[in-house]
Amino acid sequence: MSIKIHLDNFEGPLDLLLHLIKTHEMDIYDIPMVEITEQYLGIIDQMKQLDLDVAGEFLLVAATLIHIKSRLLLPLNEELVEEEEEDPRAELVRRLLEYQRYKAAALSLERLPQIARDLFVNHFLASEIPADEADDEVAVGIYQLAEAFHRLLKSAPTEVFHEVIREPLSVAEYVQKLIERLADGTRRTFREMFPQAPQRAELVVTFLAMLELVKMRRVKLEQAGEFSEIWLSLPASGEQSADIFREESALDYG
């Protein structure tokens, strides 16, 4: 018989352990390892049955419990006892007490008066103080800086720049491929023009091919606004674009 536990209510394995020790009125300095391990594993089992995402950290603590339990069950080695071996549970107890400390600290933080919940400040911005900076400007720190770059990388194949092409991929070949992809007259997004799961070199060559096409005005680029999707299409009078760069030497990438 075990108590049904809602795991969402726990912040992690340490929180769950603390809860078990409390509800079963165990002595934290003399945790009955067999009992608590059983309780804990029972709950992990329930998590699996409920098809919850059994987080690795819950399993890690399960392994720790089993390990401590097995060490306690081993017959005492007299030589080791003389060396005053530490109770195998000691580190766990320290961690639990330390965790409890920060759990208490979190509660006392919660109780502090908070802006917008318990008190308010004024939003006055004197009309005399010129709003020379736009509203969307924000004060930033390193995090915001790194985040900005991170965001950019997510949206652009940026490796292109510092590459020297050594791979035997032909730009001319990719130029042809791109034209073929656009040949049915549909508009395609910048992203669509790249192969699925491309190699770096493939990205580079595709991009160079795209630049060539744009330079030669064989492809039309459209973008509604900053950061929005870039669309590629063949210009309306694009009938003649089929046979251009058959010859690799026509481009300077040979």
Partner: protein, 190 residues
């Protein structure tokens, strides 16, 4: 009210975050000794518990804030429910507040769970800042709390944090805090 006091009052009122004495000195081109009595006078003019707002000392500066006992009324001003921290966010914030500078790995050891997502959220809310990198292999980032953290919780500085309790046993108060639903507690499965 003399000109200097008017200016100090106006500066504190118009600033978007708490104004420190040093900043006031710089803005007004005055010495601290000139301004300290002015601030003290303002603190008497705007005492807690008497007017709609008072002159609070917070995050190393001064700011007018409403009295917290008026909050139930004032919350009617905004339609949205006030932001509430998740237990995970509070726990992480507490660890960082008391242990800064601290690495992500140290936070995760203390909490026993992955804390990347929580850290990201707290960084995005500007409650944390990156203090540098630890002199360890891999040079992990060191996290600390920001001025906005002090401002949000109305702390003068980090020494103003509630005392961190030392526990030698389980805390009965925290047992109650475990947010188990009564329904969950009562159920028994074979």
């Amino acid at each position: 009210m003399d000109e200097l006091q008017r200016l100090v009052e106006a500066f504190i009122f118009a600033a978007e975050s708490p104004l420190s004495l040093d900043k006031l000195c710089q803005l007004l081109e005055r010495q601290r000794a000139d301004l300290r009595p002015v601030i003290e006078q303002l603190q008497r003019d705007y005492p807690p518990l008497q007017r709609g707002f008072f002159l609070a000392e917070v995050a190393g500066g001064y700011q007018f804030r409403t009295a917290s006992e008026l909050a139930p009324w004032l919350r009617k001003l905004s339609k949205e429910r006030p932001f509430r921290f998740s237990p995970a966010a509070l726990e992480t914030l507490a660890i960082i507040a008391y242990r800064q500078p601290i690495t992500r790995a140290e936070i995760e050891y203390l909490r026993g769970v992955d804390s990347g997502g929580v850290l990201k959220t707290l960084l995005e809310k500007s409650l944390l800042r990156i203090l540098g990198k630890k002199d360890l292999p891999g040079r992990p980032l060191l996290y600390g709390t920001s001025r906005q953290f002090l401002e949000l919780f109305g702390l003068r500085d980090l020494n103003d944090l509630p005392t961190l309790k030392e526990f030698s046993a389980l805390d009965p108060e925290l047992t109650e805090a475990v947010p188990l639903t009564s329904e969950a507690m009562g159920q028994v499965d074979g």
